[in-house]
């Protein structure tokens, strides 16, 4: 088709005129939009596991994020901009999480993204954030592989890498006078990148202190019946048992110990026992007494803002302080970090967030947080123990609500 020979009709002229007018109008509107940007909502994108394997924790994180959105907006938002969190479901899939963050950044054009649940999903999600130059404050991906990514945009909102969760138990045991320390130890570990290294860290410190290892076995994740494993452990009768556990296996270990009537003097479980609701439901409320675990948050924490957080949480979702999942606290704390960055710098953009959080220490519900170059927090967890039917902090002494109870009372049934 030759343009020079094309007749320009009257109708064509009108169409061209309308299009030109539309273009001019839209460009005018966008100029107005830029001018009004200061008052436009701050759009935050998050992908969460609202269904699938991680949905319990994903929903807990959602409660935390949405509670923070409500509370920050009550205060007028961030730098005068109301906060609008868009949460999309990744169905616990590492593939879907990549699609979700790509869409949030490129299609929804959110200003900021924050993290999903689990190390498994955080790793691919953080790569997307890094590719587009977004900061990545994340509440629940603290396995070693997350930090091995060497992503300078990432900030993990818990006191330490999750594999360091057992350090506080080792600190407590090794603080005991030699005559009161356990002489023998057994390690029962899930074949898992979080659980097994955590127990191995404790084992290395115990062995260096002369606590003899009498049992050390790893079980695959599909092990549903722990009784044969625990029967072999019980035959060695160690003073202290360290369970490198997640959740179902932690419950199965304890049930097997009860059934085999084996009650060690000290029992530490890396995960599972830290769940305020599920643990007593699964093993029986009267069997929790004396079991150790580690936590990043507890309802009686003295961290600033805790009382207000609990009050707002209970008002919005019901229940009691003791039923708050720590994942909700972590997600809430991820949000408050944004407020603090904005308050300190007067700006809220990805470059500012990354540059600012790499300096200094930041107060959150999780305590004062600071990170190394790749987002690994430099603090430590709290040692908690089930005392009187509730998770109670027992170590370090400075934050302890109660002295550690040892030996562990016998199982009740």
């Amino acid at each position: 088709m030759k343009l020079s020979n094309t007749k320009v009709s009257k109708r064509g002229m009108i169409t061209a005129g309308v299009l030109s007018a539309a273009l001019i109008t839209s460009s005018l509107l966008s100029t107005v939009g830029v001018a009004a940007n200061a008052a436009s909502p701050l759009k935050i994108g998050v992908s969460l596991s609202l269904t699938g394997d991680f949905s319990d924790s994903g929903l807990a994180a959602q409660r935390g994020y949405l509670l923070w959105q409500q509370e920050v907006n009550k205060k007028g938002g961030i730098l005068g901009r109301s906060v609008s969190i868009k949460i999309v479901n990744d169905a616990s899939s590492p593939d879907q999480v990549v699609t979700n963050y790509t869409n949030l950044i490129t299609k929804d054009k959110v200003d900021i993204v924050m993290g999903p649940f689990s190390s498994l999903l955080t790793i691919p999600a953080s790569r997307v954030a890094k590719r587009y130059g977004y900061s990545f404050i994340e509440p629940a991906g603290g396995g070693p592989k997350v930090f091995a990514e060497k992503n300078p945009n990432l900030f993990f909102v818990q006191p330490a890498a999750t594999t360091k969760g057992g350090d506080v138990f080792a600190d407590y045991i090794l603080s005991l006078p030699a005559s009161q320390r356990p002489k023998t130890a057994g390690y029962v570990k899930l074949d898992d990148p979080f659980a097994a290294p955590l127990a191995d860290n404790i084992k290395a410190r115990f062995e260096a202190a002369g606590i003899k290892t009498v049992y050390d076995q790893t079980y695959p994740s599909e092990t549903a019946d722990m009784t044969p494993v625990v029967s072999a452990l019980a035959a060695k009768n160690p003073d202290v048992v360290v369970g490198g556990t997640q959740s179902a296996d932690a419950f199965a270990q304890v049930k097997a110990m009860i059934q085999l009537k084996f009650s060690p003097k000290w029992l530490f479980l890396s995960n599972g026992a830290s769940s305020p609701l599920e643990f007593p439901q699964q093993i029986g409320a009267n069997n929790t007494e004396g079991v150790f675990t580690s936590s990043d948050w507890y309802p009686k924490s003295t961290a600033p803002g805790t009382a207000a957080f609990i009050k707002a949480y209970v008002a919005k979702y019901g229940g009691a302080a003791t039923s708050i999942d720590s994942t909700s606290t972590e997600a809430y704390s991820a949000g408050t970090l944004l407020e603090e960055v904005a308050a300190k710098t007067g700006k809220i953009d990805n470059k500012t967030i990354i540059a600012t959080l790499h300096k200094g220490s930041w107060p959150t519900l999780e305590g004062n947080l600071s990170w190394n170059a790749y987002g690994e927090p430099q603090g430590s967890y709290l040692l908690t123990q089930w005392i009187g039917g509730a998770l109670t902090t027992v170590w370090p002494k400075a934050t302890a609500q109660h002295a550690p109870v040892a030996p562990k009372p016998a199982w009740k049934n």
């Binding site: 074949d191 076995q217 019946d225 072999a232 035959a235 199965a252 085999l260």
Partner: protein, 292 residues
Amino acid sequence: MHLVVQALILGTLTGGVYALMASGQTLIFGIMKVINLAQGAYVVLGAYLTMSLFQWTHIDPFLLILLTTPILFFVGAATQWFLLRPLRPADATELSLLVTFAVALGLEGLMSVMYKTTLRSIQPGYENHSWTIAGYQVNEVRFYAFLLSIAMLVILYLILQKTKFGRAIRATVQNPMSAQLLGVNSNLVSAFGFGLGVATSAAAGAVFGLITPFNPGSHYDLISRLLTVVILGGLGSIGGSVIAAMVMGVGAALVSALSAPVWSDFTFFAVLIIVLLVRPRGMFGAKVRGAL
């Protein structure tokens, strides 16, 4: 020695539980040549039903089996009638794999919506009780489950061998055409047979929920174990699956206790491969295809 005997006790009791679960699976294959990939999901459904009824009525979970068995019988019969019966006979065996897998996924989704993915367990208060006999621990629930397995297997045997319905099933298994010519309604027999196989999940689910925490995704692990049990025992042989379940239970417990837990499942699969190499139809697989 103490450890070996304790492992034998634990393994035998656990084997009994798997025998109970696998009996329905092997019955369904024997009757219909359907490898039912949804059997694990039916067991989990049985566990959820028992849990809900127990929380609602506070009736003992073992007694609730009397209520849940007919429910699962109808669920199974409906699955066969509406989803498997319409398949073309020539493709039925292959397509039934897809259909039953779809049923498993559907049930998993349904249970996830209703119960979420939180781990649950059935806790009547005695689930962790054990008797100490000569220094060995015998868990009450597993012991009852073992007795229940034996009772269920005896009932299945009696139904198949001593009742008119059982004779109709066996006739349909051996020669569907002749059975039909002799007046057996093979469609109805297949639906009832499938229902019977699924009904065993009620008892299996109650026991499963008592001894281990479960969620809707638990059926994946279960089905892989059940399939290996019925293949080792010989597809279609109830007696074979009982013995295979015992071999699995005792073998896994011994390897776990005496060697390392990481080897326990591997050992079982190694035994399975060896048996299949030497005797491809399994330990007790029938020479005549379909004989129970």
